[in-house]
């Protein structure tokens, strides 16, 4: 039944992703040619020939499937370094974003300071007292959260 003596799975593992993809495409084109021939010459083919050609077509399609899947798996061999690099960069970005969130807390304190400034401008003792308390509490929050 096998038109082509396909290598074993172990041997296939030695193919590169790109080689597997090229083979998959070749098998697909052959399968299509067989399938089209079978449909176009349906009336002139015997039942036995129709069955045989369909079996050929399906085998070729299966080979193509196996090669396509293999190509997708083997791509890992080509990209491991890139994956590591991108993971490292992403980790650094996350770390920096975390730092920015801390800066954000510092700014929160700055905001409380501005509120205190506004209260001082307003010359209202209660507002000053309130804003001062708020600033102290923000400062304490920040200190408590610091590692």
């Amino acid at each position: 039944m096998n038109l082509i003596n396909l290598k074993t799975k172990t041997d296939m593992a030695q193919l590169t992703s790109q080689q597997s993809a090229v083979l998959a495409e070749n098998f697909l084109e052959l399968a299509e040619a067989v399938g089209n021939y079978r449909m176009e010459h349906w009336e002139t083919l015997s039942d036995e020939e129709r069955k045989e050609m369909k079996a050929y077509q399906y085998s070729l399609l299966n080979y193509s499937d196996e090669m396509s899947t293999n190509a997708a798996r083997l791509v890992m061999n080509d990209i491991e370094d890139s994956l590591d690099t991108l993971r490292d960069v992403t980790q650094q970005i996350k770390k920096d974003y975390g730092k920015l969130q801390k800066i954000h807390k510092v700014i929160h304190i700055a905001a409380a300071s501005v509120a205190l400034g506004a209260a001082i401008f307003s010359k209202q003792p209660q507002a000053i007292q309130h804003s001062m308390k708020n600033l102290v509490s923000k400062w304490k929050e920040e200190e408590e959260e610091a590692p």
Partner: protein, 286 residues
């Protein structure tokens, strides 16, 4: 001290700093957020190597007119899906990180915190008018922008530089796995479906009414395969735009302030958004 005179001065300085600082980070943020959203459509494809294997298995059962007692062996397909998933997560994580780092969440959060602090506190007899509240808020915004924008721009420049080669290779790998290899699996399934239904249509034991039903079923299946192929193709176009946008960002990374980079990123952002819209239209057809 006469505070009404101080606030306008601070406001003008602040607004200048604010606009000078945030515009370009905003563009990077738009690009990265679009890229993360576009890549995220991977989860909506609804097709995988494992699904292709299951469909092939179902077709084999129909051909043999037998039920498989042991189920389908789709182990290698599951492995291919795992590889694709790893690539997808790495890229999505990166673009989401880029979007967060260039985003404006800090500004919004601070704005609310300060406004609440000034208006909702127990101030007793104190009256601080709205203009003063707004001025204080602006001052606070300026402080954060001044501190974080320079830092973020510097860091983004470094990260885009470090990641560019890896991003390119991973986008290529994702595109190759989906647009080339998974689409080919759809094509083999299309050929199997065509052969199977062709034979049924030629079967003299089937009545004309049943043949009509067979043809309807065939057309429905072929249309479904076609939509999936187009979805994957549109997803692939999105990947290309993301890659081109990142390359432009990389090439101009030391000039994150220039007008050109703003325009380029706007163009790629718009291209990515077009593919997202096209993808969503196809999703509704499916």
């Amino acid at each position: 001290m006469d505070h009404p005179k101080l606030f306008p001065v601070l406001g003008v300085i602040g607004l200048s700093l604010f606009f000078a600082g945030c515009v370009n980070l905003g563009r990077v943020n738009d690009y990265a957020a679009n890229a993360a959203g576009s890549i995220g459509q991977f989860e909506e494809l609804g097709y995988s190597f494992n699904k292709a294997c299951q469909e092939k298995c179902q077709m084999e059962q129909l051909e043999k007119q037998q039920l498989l007692t042991k189920g389908c062996d789709c182990q290698t397909e599951k492995e291919a899906d795992s590889v694709t998933l790893v690539i997808y997560h790495a890229l999505k994580g990166y673009f989401e990180g880029l979007a967060k780092l260039s985003g404006n969440e800090l500004t919004n959060y601070r704005f609310n915190a300060l406004t609440n602090g000034l208006t909702a506190g127990n101030f007793g007899l104190v009256h601080i008018n709205q203009a003063q509240v707004n001025a204080c808020t602006k001052v606070s915004n300026i402080l954060t922008q001044a501190i974080t924008n320079g830092y973020r721009r510097k860091k983004l420049t470094t990260y885009i530089g470090e990641a560019n080669e890896a991003v390119k290779r991973l986008l290529d790998a994702l595109k190759s796995n989906l647009v080339t290899n998974l689409t080919r699996r759809l094509e083999t399934q299309r050929q199997r479906t065509q052969s199977y239904y062709f034979d049924l249509s030629k079967d003299n034991a089937i009545s004309p009414y049943e043949k009509k039903k067979v043809i309807e079923e065939y057309n429905g299946l072929m249309a479904g395969i076609d939509v999936k192929k187009r979805q994957i193709a549109v997803f692939g176009k999105g990947i290309e735009s993301i890659g081109a946008g990142h390359q432009e960002l990389y090439d101009a990374r030391s000039q994150l302030k220039t007008k050109e980079i703003k325009e380029l990123l706007t163009r790629y952002g718009s291209e990515i958004q077009d593919t997202v819209d096209e993808f969503n239209k196809l999703k509704n057809e499916n």
